[in-house]
């Protein structure tokens, strides 16, 4: 006999449910493939119906991402993804909104929208594919390209100083910043899930390789031989240890961070800085995010995660508050409000 109390169990979603029928058209060997795969791995873990996911993007190689996801997707215009995504989230706060950007899209043409999305702390997830180059326009320097980089538009080397996404995001009042690399699918998936669970604008910077125009730009961090000495995987509440046997660590010495080795010069684990991602004060988060080879490891993982009221929460609260005391409840009421007179 049928038991009417039994709610039919929804079949759990799988990676396959999130793959669209479109042919993926990135260059063979592009880091974007790994990011796409990490994303289709992450989404089934979020317990959200597929129809509630929206992927928004601007222009660039990265921006093709929504076509390859079997969710709602909107491939918009150059740099404007955060603004479109903001409208989507405000229109329907129940949606899980993901915004995919490259470094040119996010930090050059769309820099203004990028910082203001972070400032407002709208509850969306921004995935920044940082390959330090323009790919789709075929190889010009980007705002994250290192000084001296030779590209089609800088044949004598770039003379510009690059942005660091983390500093920009934190300066813009960002509440969540994580960094990951395209060569570590497990870490990417983990961080995407973490970002989705953060309430507020989550910025995930993926150090991504452009195999055609800027190959190996992140090799100092991602190459197999550099993995142990130049990657520091942080977790909130854990000491900042790295190296093959986890013997190297980061110590705060005065106002500077330094690399120390356990057992040398009387250094013990007590000297090692413990990561506090939840600290409102972003000073240490910025210092950690700035560390880079050759003198330091690159910090990967969730560097900053603080809770602040989101823009969509604030708007909802405001609406609730105003509605309670409202003296009119329809447009008809409004039309009749104030000074009116009758012609008889």
């Amino acid at each position: 006999m049928e038991n009417i109390i039994d709610i039919p169990q929804q079949k759990p979603l799988t990676k396959k449910d999130f793959e669209s029928d479109q042919l993926v058209r990135w260059c063979p060997g592009c880091g974007d493939y790994a990011i796409l795969s990490a994303m289709t791995n992450a989404l089934p873990q979020l317990n959200t119906p597929r129809e509630n996911f929206v992927f928004v993007s601007g222009i660039g190689c990265a921006a093709r991402f929504p076509y390859y996801m079997n969710t709602y997707g909107f491939h918009t215009i150059h740099g404007r993804g955060p603004a479109v995504a903001t409208g989507v989230k405000l229109a329907n706060p129940k949606l899980s909104v993901w915004e995919i950007q490259g470094d040119g899209d996010a930090l050059a043409i769309g820099g203004n929208h990028f910082i203001h999305a972070l400032r407002r702390n709208i509850d969306i997830n921004i995935i920044l594919f940082n390959n330090e180059i323009y790919g789709l326009t075929k190889g010009q320097y980007s705002p994250t390209s290192p000084a001296g980089l030779i590209t089609k538009s800088t044949p004598y080397g770039s003379v510009e100083r690059p942005f660091h996404a983390a500093e920009l995001a934190i300066g813009a009042q960002g509440t969540f910043y994580a960094r990951t690399i395209d060569t570590n699918p497990k870490l990417m998936t983990e961080i995407f899930v973490h970002a989705a669970k953060h309430t507020g604008t989550s910025l995930v910077e993926v150090l991504q390789n452009c195999v055609i125009f800027n190959d190996d730009t992140h090799a100092a961090v991602t190459a197999k031989e550099n993995r142990d000495d130049f990657q520091l995987h942080v977790k909130h509440g854990q000491p900042l240890l790295f190296g093959k046997e986890n013997k190297k660590g980061i110590r705060l010495n005065g106002l500077k961070l330094e690399v120390v080795t356990l057992g040398e010069n009387g250094i013990t684990e007590k000297d090692i800085l413990v990561h506090d991602a939840h600290n409102e004060d972003p000073t240490l988060h910025v210092m950690l995010a700035r560390l880079a080879p050759p003198h330091f490891p690159m910090v990967l993982g969730v560097i900053r995660e603080v809770r602040a009221k989101t823009y969509n929460e604030a708007l909802a609260e405001e609406q609730e508050r105003i509605s309670q005391n409202a003296k009119y409840h329809s447009v008809d009421d409004l039309l009749k409000s104030g000074e009116t007179w009758e012609i008889k």
Binding site: R50, V54, V84, T86, K89, L90, I343
Partner: protein, 619 residues
């Protein structure tokens, strides 16, 4: 001018219509004075139209010409369509106000000045080389030199008010004088004062005393020769309110959102003269309105597109410079076929141009100002009150035809106001959403309605309708990215045809007149009031002149050609270098279309138009 009657020792003159202009320093409260006079006159039963004329600077130095703020109102016993060409009565609160407003006073009209403000220093500050009251500047005007400041001071003596507060009441003294002059009761303004200064009774008392003192002063002095009587107009029965163009636009958008059961989402960036729409909508969040003051014009339109994509009603409001920035995003909405309303409150240009002055020069950018073949619907409101109707229409067309709609307003409509017999929302036309449908279990985002060619509106959160859209060309039906040459041509033609077919859903062009005129005057948008008045006045003298006014710019009404080809002579009047005339010539070659234009940041004057029309009727 009508009959003359005795009123005590003074006479009363009946007038068909009269124009009054209040001018003073930005801080003198001229906008308030003008709107109080207008409200009292509306209650009296006059038809009227108003226009504020304020400087771009917020508070230019006191006493300078740059700091003068003006308010003009025309009241009548006949239908009034404009605030009037020239003032029959000019109230000038200081020399600078006189200096900058004398050009708007009718020769032979009345000028009332605050004599106390004509100190040597103020005269010099205003840029006069000699005292205009005595050097013959005002020859030919009837000047009333009233010591408004000192009489206000006397009237308020004994109240616990500082000098500044006393001086700020002098606008009420001037208003009181006008109430006597036009035989209006003080009661409505007294009620207003009581409400406004509820918490400061001394200020309420002071303002009311100044008002009454002004009234009695006007009655007493010999200088005012007559009272004027402007009898009530024959106005359609019903309940009325005042409305400005920007408020009407905001409310029209809200009414449409309520009708269609969507939240209104406004993404906007402050810009003159459109900001008041943002301000107005920001007040009504209790009705489900969401407003976002974006980081720039581009984010404003993009957030609105995002909101529409997600199933609410995305709107962005701006003026010319902002519209220029929004072009790429509007094109995204054209390509993605998403409902979007873009309000362009036109101002003088190019570039920053004349931010507070009116112009009609954005018709080209609205129709053509985007890359490639980019068809969008363009509407133009033509009175402050019908901004409501066309904002509503803009939403209706955007939703029913899945397209961006650009609504053109202008600085003149935005800030001008008029009495409005407002509708009940139940009587507004229905707005039907085109719900998406599955085709054998699959959703094709670019499946189209066979009549309108509009696609369905499938919104995120709806299971089974997951799909991807964007700015790349898409395959017909599936919406997948396609670079196929034939498909591209088909899609370009389909998008254009979709907009052309909107003509099947809009009203036909109407002609005001007998239909047998020797001249057809054509206008569009905010010039309606001036054109209509000028044509009507000539028709009353049996001139063979007809008038057709366009609110639908793209597509044009279906009968446009049939209307135009009946006339041997057509004169298109507009505040630009002839953009609409060019449009008509390109659409209807062979029809003789002449153009009359003006680009001064000011509306047409009725007298100016009548001269032009008579000239054109001659040959």
């Amino acid at each position: 001018m009508g009959e003359t009657a005795l009123n005590g020792n003074k006479t009363t003159k009946e007038l068909e219509k009269v124009v009054i202009r209040f001018a003073g320093d930005s801080g003198d409260g001229m906008q308030l004075t003008g709107s109080q006079f207008s409200f009292t006159s509306a209650l009296w039963g006059n038809d009227l139209a108003t226009f504020p004329d304020f400087p771009a600077e917020i508070r230019a130095p006191q006493g300078t010409v740059e700091g003068v703020s003006g308010f003009q109102v025309q009241i009548g016993k006949i239908e009034i369509y404009t605030p009037g060409d020239q003032a029959d009565v000019l109230v000038a609160m200081n020399p600078a106000a006189l200096k900058s407003n004398l050009q708007f006073a009718r020769k032979g009209g009345n000028i009332i000045v605050d004599l106390d403000a004509f100190s040597e220093r103020n005269i010099e500050k205003a840029g006069f080389t000699a005292n205009p009251l005595t050097d013959g500047t005002l020859a030919g005007y009837h000047v009333v030199e009233a010591p408004i400041s000192s009489l206000t001071k006397t009237a308020l003596a004994g109240l616990q008010l500082d000098n500044k507060s006393i001086m700020r009441s002098k606008n009420m003294f001037a208003l009181g004088m006008m109430y006597w002059l036009f035989d209006r009761p003080l009661s409505e303004t007294e009620k207003y004062i009581d409400a406004k200064f509820r918490k400061t009774p001394a200020l309420a008392e002071g303002n009311k005393r100044a008002l009454t003192a002004g009234f009695h002063y006007a009655e007493t002095i010999e200088a005012l020769p007559a009272m004027y009587n402007v009898p009530p107009a024959k106005i359609e029965k019903g309940i009325y309110r005042h409305i400005s163009g920007n408020t009407a636009t905001a409310w029209g958008l809200m009414a449409a959102a309520e009708k269609v059961g969507k939240k209104l989402f406004l993404g906007s960036y402050p810009i003159t003269p459109a900001s008041d729409i943002l301000h107005e909508l920001s007040r009504h969040k209790n009705l489900g309105v969401i407003t976002m003051q974006a980081e720039d014009e581009i984010a404003a339109v993009c957030s609105a597109i995002g909101a529409s994509y997600a199933g609410q009603l995305g709107v962005t409001t701006s003026s010319g410079p902002g519209i220029a920035l929004k072009g790429e995003a509007i094109n995204l909405a054209v390509m993605a076929e998403i409902p979007l309303v873009v309000v362009d409150v036109q101002r003088g240009g190019p570039s920053t141009g004349l931010p507070t002055k009116t112009e009609q020069a954005d018709i080209n950018i609205a129709i053509y100002g985007r890359n490639s073949e980019s068809p969008a619907v363009v509407l133009a409101a033509s009175t402050p009150a019908n901004c409501f109707e066309f904002a509503y229409q803009a939403v209706k067309i955007a939703v029913e035809h899945m397209t961006p709609v650009i609504l053109l307003s202008d600085g003149y409509l935005a800030n001008g106001s008029e009495p409005w017999k407002f509708p009940k929302t139940a009587d507004l036309p229905a707005i039907t959403i085109r719900e998406p449908e599955l085709d054998n279990g699959t959703y094709y985002p670019y499946n189209r309605d066979t009549e309108t060619l509009a696609r369905g509106w499938a919104v995120p959160g709806t299971p089974g309708f997951e799909h991807r859209i964007g700015g790349l060309e898409k395959q017909e039906k599936t919406g997948n990215v396609s670079y196929d040459p034939k498909n591209h041509e088909k899609m370009v033609r389909t998008r254009a045809e979709k907009i052309n077919r909107v003509a099947n859903y809009i009203p036909e062009l109407e002609v005001q007149g007998n239909g047998d005129g020797e001249l057809l005057v054509v206008g569009w948008g905010g010039t309606f009031g001036g054109l209509r008045t000028a044509v009507t006045e000539l028709q009353r003298t049996n001139r063979k002149i007809d008038f057709a006014h366009f609110n639908y710019i793209n597509p044009l009404p279906k009968n446009t050609k049939a209307v135009l080809e009946k006339y041997n002579k057509i004169l298109v009047c507009e505040l630009n270098l002839g953009q609409f005339a060019s449009l008509l010539r390109s659409k209807f070659p062979g029809i003789n279309i002449l153009s009359y234009t003006k680009i001064q940041g000011q509306p047409f004057l009725v007298t100016e138009l009548k001269e032009v029309f008579l000239e054109n009727l001659k040959d």
